[in-house]
Amino acid sequence: MIRQVDQALAREFGLTPDEYQNVLAIMGRAPSLTELGIFSVMWSEHCSYKSSRAFLRTLPTTAPWVIHGPGENAGVVDIGEGLAAIFKMESHNHPSFIEPYQGAATGVGGILRDVFTMGARPIANLNALRFGSPDNPATRRIVDGVVRGIGGYGNCVGVPTVGGEVNFHPAYDGNPLVNAMTVGIARQDRIFLSAAAGIGNPVVYVGSRTGRDGIHGATMASAEFDEDAQAKRPTVQVGDPFVEKLLIEACLELMQTDAIVAIQDMGAAGLTSSSVEMAGKGAVGIDLDLDAVPQRERGMTAYEMMLSESQERMLMVLRPDRTEVAQAIFEKWELDFAIIGTLTDTGHIVVRHKGRVEADIPLGPLAEQAPLYHRPTAPTPLREPLGPVSDPVGIEAALVRLVGSPDCASRAWIWDQYDSTVGGQTVRRPGAADAAIVRVEGTRIGLALTTDCTPRYVAADARTGGAQAVAEAWRNLTATGARPLAITDNLNFGNPEKPEVMGQFADAVSGMAEACLALDFPVVSGNVSLYNETRAPDGSTVSILPTPAIGGLGVLEDAATAVGLALAPDLDLVLIGETAGHLGQSLWLREVHGLEDGPPPPVDLVAERRHGDFVRARIAAGEVAACHDVSDGGLLVAIAEMAMAGDTGIALDVPQSGMAPHAYWFGEDQGRYLLAVRDGDALIRAAHAAGITARKLGQSARSGRNTGLILSSGATISLARLLAAHARFFPEFMDPAGPVKR
């Protein structure tokens, strides 16, 4: 059935009446169905960033080591020796709720393509995951599917999954977040961009065939969920990691030649966005002949082919005298290869199918007149400071509860399903250090990689929370000894048409910008995911916690100098940074009192930088055996994590300071590091000389005398008890019947 193209259909496609009027003005006539489809996906929130663009421009994106910032498929930074790290993080939230396995799997596939399309061999994957409350009956199924999906795809393509983060919160019950990050390595003189060039050059399609899957996925990702979410299952794509692996190898092999003029993966909005963006960036026109597109199904229409989000496909512009070389490589890898078009000087995208022109759109206006909204913002009311808070359970019980809580418990159950060693370059595996460390094959260079965000801080104070997310990523890289270089951001928020959500967005971005500037830590790539909210049958909506996930990348000249967080025997444990006992929005407050209250801990970016630069210098000098930043759960949780990782006890000796013990041990003051060193006194003298607060907290157990964690009060918590509490949550939650054994 052929629908008439009118305002009603435009509305179904997600275009507002004003946007549709603009389409009519650009076209000078009613658009065809295919044309309307192209406008609607290119102008969707997902592809056009129409609500977020104005704010994103305020983020710092340059530094001497930045080679390509936002605007390319991924960000590119100089890591030395003529090499570049290419990285980006991207969300696949909506699909992962509808179909967790495929949603997460194709999220990994998509971000991998963004990186290898630029000429980089992917060397590491990370992810940032947010799930609903463990008490929600749907959560277990979603966690299971997402973890299997990430593993199923990443393990098969042979890229190690080396790090990430996971939070649980009821705000994600109907809208989990799956943010996937890929890091790749390329020679700086072999980086491939997407701007098409060369009138008459062939446009080539490679990879999987096009099917009807994922049609209008980008539009779906640009609307909130309602009770019919499950009916949207057909808009979720299905991934084939085997084809992706072949595509990686074939593309990298072709990139050894001089055949490629421009290349881009077909991600959201598939053939439409790749062809429009490539031609648009190159200021050329493009003619596409859809009869030549490799197809998986019979009878596909132009509309379906242009909107399909079938996975594992790439679009390239080749030198005309090199198409045979390219074809031979793709045939070797048993992948489809088809010349489906030509670059023209018309400035139009012209789509032909079965002898008819199905679309003819001027590319300039399509890009330049894309909607840009300055949506109204409403500030989040600041939280009243937290008054005095009692300690109803005591230090020991609170510690055991915290290390066993869903947000702090061991993630081994997840990591054990991800291949973290393939490639043979993983220096620090998940959980071994504050950031994962991967060596660049054939060099001594180490990359430090992390993902970070504390959404409850952002919800309470978006500006502080945005700054904190960036600062924590910087701190986690620093704690390994790495020099932080740049970030990729994945900004997950609710419905931007709500002023309070847009206010969160604006404030979080301004906090991020402030931290990026203060820490010389620019944004080089990123992704925005809006409309992360669910509409209940009664019409009310639930937004996610604002979650600007940060993917940080740092570099070590010599990967061997990286330090982990595992405590070793016979060392002094020294705390760098001020402890004010800030319990607002702390994990302790939530787990012990069941409250999410008060303001988040303040972020002092000047102190942050001073502390971090000091710690990094000490690590570089070889003085530090282990280092861990203090974050969720505060000081005592951080100490317990070091002790558990190293299976080494520690005796704490901290004189009463007048501060309530629970505030001292569980407050989440920022800018703090724990360093395990041979000579604590020397370290403290050096810190004081640099104007930095430092104090010795205790001494790790002597070799062979594993005493557990001895508190200043003399109470001892055995490591076995901590480890048991730490290990319990995931296996009991996810595999309650226990692992299947024969």
């Binding site: 084939d240 220096v427 595999d735 054994k741």
Partner: protein, 230 residues
């Protein structure tokens, strides 16, 4: 020692293997393509890990019918040494070069962590770097590592000393508690009758550098060089 590494579509640990071999031999291994029909002059053929043909149909089933496998079979029949790791082990069982089969892990989840392996047979080209009873560490990373064979075969493997490695703890204890994937008798690796074909699930090639957490896997490669150096 001249080593060749077979690359199938979907192989993904060929570079890990090449690095480990280069560390032992000082020379680069030859990469072989699955469509090749003739092997160059080699002392060792390695089938590395990965997901050949996407593990579709059955792990290793399609790769076992690749053109190159005819040449690999002839090479083995002529007394050549063949090492199959993870997917390579699966391919060797599918090709009939090793007995048994590898099913889904008993826990039905992909597993990726370090395991301990107890050396069951010393003195072969693959295990001369160890003594029987030695324990070493190796990363495992598989969804289908659950070794099965009929009782007769298992008895023969035991009786003829064709079990190469068993999953154990650090002290060499072998029991249900040290069995990660449900493998019969905790078997992690087996030899062919002539002891010249070895298949194992874990990845010694990913533990040959102190920076990556240890060199427990090195004796396999150093031993091969000693045994096979021309």
């Amino acid at each position: 020692m001249r080593a060749g590494i077979v690359v199938f579509p979907g192989t993904n640990r060929e570079r890990d293997m090449a690095i480990a071999l280069q560390g032992a031999t000082g020379t680069q291994a030859v990469m072989l393509w699955h469509r090749d029909t003739v092997l160059p002059a080699l002392d060792l053929v390695v089938l590395p890990g990965g997901f050949s043909h996407g593990d579709y149909l059955r792990c290793g089933a399609m790769a076992a019918h690749s053109p190159i496998m005819t040449a690999v079979r002839s090479f083995a029949e002529a007394g050549g040494h063949v090492l199959g790791v993870c997917n390579g082990f699966q391919i060797l069982t599918e090709a009939g070069l090793l007995p048994g089969a590898l099913l889904r892990n008993a826990g039905l989840r992909f597993l990726s962590h370090d395991c301990h392996l107890r050396v069951e047979r010393e003195g072969t080209a693959f295990t001369r770097g160890w003594s029987a009873g030695d324990v070493f560490r190796a990363p495992l990373a598989h969804g289908d590592g659950n070794y099965v064979a009929d009782r007769e075969t298992l008895e023969r493997l035991d009786g003829d000393g064709l079990v190469a490695f068993r999953y154990s703890d650090a002290a060499g204890r072998v029991d249900a508690g040290t069995n990660p994937n449900g493998s019969a008798g905790n078997i992690a690796g087996v030899f062919s009758r002539n002891l010249r074909v070895l298949g194992l699930m874990p990845h010694p090639e990913d533990l040959v550098d102190p920076l990556m957490g240890g060199i427990d896997g090195k004796p396999l490669f150093d031993g091969l060089v000693q045994a096979l150096a021309a």
